[in-house]
Point group: C2
Chain length 158, copies 2
DNA sequence: GTCGCTGCAAAGTCTTTGCAGAGAG
DNA sequence: CTCTCTGCAAAGACTTTGCAGCGAC
């Protein structure tokens, strides 16, 4: 186990669970558990934001300057996580892909077009209708997402 | 007026309306109405698909081989249309941006992850809830979008 | 005639890939 | 010890920009 890990400050039962899922996934595919992969997962977990590959990279470089993590590794790990459904990417607006941990409960997003902030929400009625619609159209639904765009309270008062 | 235009086969009142909005928009900004811009608008209008810049370019090259429309012009025109809200882009899945005319009535999308096809739909209940949610969260809603991902009927039987 | 537009090619971004050495199992 | 990972740099894919000649008005 890595030295680095002992520096993390937001370790929780939830995170331990996530980490062990990840390790299991790796083992099942004869992949290796490396410091880089751990740091990426942990950073995604500890961030409240939705991260781009670039911002993830910067965060990691700042927190672990000695690790010299390459951007290519970030991309490789994100797509590994994405293919294993541990992470979901959002591609709202202009600014490229943003990633979030998919382990979290399903939710939708409401995005402020002024400040770029993203708030999460869930609405049961909408969830139900989405299933109904997929059925009506003969689709076998695997996933869904919804975004509302607007101006948030704070930006309205500015 | 261009020679080219007389070749189009799906001219409708709706299209004429769209075209005249476009011309007005151009005039207002002292921009010029060119054959290329006309062809792009018309091709977007006549296509039932959601087009990528690349696929738009190919369509146009095939239909008007003499025009030698450059890909750069496609990009420039799409972003002009986008900034004027005449066109909306969707960025589902992996395959980059797809554009659709925004003049059409609002609708959501259900996407087959096997064949990539996109079907449009509208659901009143969902529309209502979206407005309600934005209100609850103090957002001034400007727009929203929803996607359902799954496997379509045809792909299920394959 | 003026001034914006276009195609082309070059330059930018963002993302992926090849490779040789490092490191997990 | 084996075989996957990693960082680096080079290559790709996609998009934007600079420029000189063309064309709408």
């Amino acid at each position: 186990m890595s030295q680095v890990a002992t520096n993390f400050n937001h370790r929780t039962i939830e995170y331990e669970q996530l980490l062990s899922n990840f390790k299991e996934l790796l083992k099942k595919n004869s992949l290796k558990f490396t410091i880089q992969r751990e740091v990426i997962l942990e950073t995604l977990y500890n961030s409240n934001e939705h991260l781009t590959p670039e911002s993830l990279h910067t965060l990691i470089k700042n927190k672990f300057p000695d690790l010299k993590t390459g951007i290519a590794t970030i991309y490789r790990t994100l797509s590994l996580l994405e293919n294993s459904d541990m992470v979901t990417f959002l591609s709202f607006g202009a600014s490229g892909k943003k990633y979030e941990l998919g382990a979290k409960k399903h939710h939708d997003h409401i995005i402020c077009t002024a400040c770029g902030n993203i708030t999460e929400f869930v609405d049961e009625q909408i969830e139900k209708r989405q299933h109904a619609i997929a059925n009506e159209l003969g689709f076998k639904m695997s996933n869904h997402s919804m975004q509302i765009y607007g101006i948030c309270k704070q930006c309205q008062t500015k």
